[in-house]
Amino acid sequence: MGTRRGLEVSIAAAEAVAMADVDVVAAYPITPQTHIVEHLAELVNNGELDAEFIPVESEHSALSVCIGASAAGARTFTCTSAQGLALMNEIVYIASSMRLPIVMILANRSLSAPLSIWNDHTDAMSVRDTGWIQVFTQNGQEVFDHVFFAYRVAEDPKVSCPVMLHMDGFIVTHVIEPVEFWDKEQVKQYLPPFKPLFRLDPDVPVTMGAFAMPHLYTEAKVAQDIALRDSMPVILSAWDEMEKVVGRRYHPIETYHTDDSEILFVVQGSFAETLQMAVDELRAKGEAVGSMMLRLWRPFPFEEFRTHTKGKKLIVIDRAISFGGQGGPLAIELRSALYGVDKAPPIMDYICGLASRDVTVEDFMKMYEMAKSRFFRSITQEGFEFYGARSLG
């Protein structure tokens, strides 16, 4: 059994990365990811972690270093937020297209302008289509557990894709909470050593990341898409195995009172725990309501989602905007996933919690009442609203 420690989640995440015995860390500090990088730098500097910590001049270089290191056969880690991810963007595609099992923690933050260091999912949504396996977490324990999960899945020879872990900036990164640490035996049992499919080796030379003619590019992308979809059984078995090793059970979609509900909230990240309290209060008043936390963002768990939402009405909470589009990116995705489904659930989308603006239990209850009394009666394809935004009209 691991020991429970009370500490800041960023520190716990860095400790997990160290326990995963990474070989190379390359990152550039940016709020709210900073404490993770700082703590890893400390561990390396103090001789507690036998790894190369490569301080770089930008996020673009951070992920480029990880690509080189991963290609050479090293277990690599990077983390960033918002503007840093945007600067890194070009390389985010290259890491996944080269199928390098890099692990990145994204401490989710708003993108400028106006300049904001606070939390929402704008950065996460900007890399939706980059070919990384993407997992959302809602608290420190989930972040800690999923560091080992991320390496196990990424490095599985049947997968060989990078994994991105999303954790809400400040709301999760800077909170001090109890985290049950794994012991060394558990890590060893769960996470095998990294055995790359190919590596840069002067004795057995290969070329990585080469040019391809248009004749080949489409097939290269099909192979990448199939690989990402085919990671699903490995992801599920990694969660099965984690339950055996540490006793915690994770799912592509975490459900709370879904079966006997009529209206279901769908959220991602740290909203989920507050929302459960709102669900409890509403249910105490006799409302048939439940909630879902969409943990696995890519590959998208279509079957689970359609099964859980059958015959329900959905209130989707988006922490990002698709300007000029159909509301928030999450709602757009879910509407698309339900297109053509017989009696597809209506979706009301609320965009809120931008730049860490508080969304309380009362807010969720208010959204529930609004959706129930107004919107589900006259829902349109583009049904969404900026919840809590001040307006003169």
């Binding site: 297209s97 080269m98 199928r99 390098l100 060989s160 499919l197 190919f198 030379p205 290969v206 070329t207 990585m208 990341g209 080469a210 391809a212 003619m213 248009p214 004749h215 080949l216 097939e219 290269a220 099909v222 192979a223 199939i226 690989a227």
Partner: protein, 106 residues
Amino acid sequence: MKQRYLREVGMNSTKEFLAWQELDVGNVVVNPGNSREYKTGDWRSQRPVWDFEKCILCGMCYAFCPDAAVKERADGYYEADYFYCKGCGICAEECPKKAITMVEEG
């Protein structure tokens, strides 16, 4: 290996290109050094032709060729390797004796 590479880059004449299942993970090229097998001479619209009467063996064409497609012959003269020469014309431009003429490809 050679045939496989030619299929990868789509340059073979049989048009039997690789299917997605046949690609190595991440499109790693496992037979290194195979760029030699890539016929960039296909790109050429003009070819450089040497007039050995004017040539003074200075080697400027050899030195300036960006693709190392100018070869030195056993007798000391230079000529293009048309398998690789893309017909850029830099050799003709740099030749101090105007001994190289760019001729339209048929």
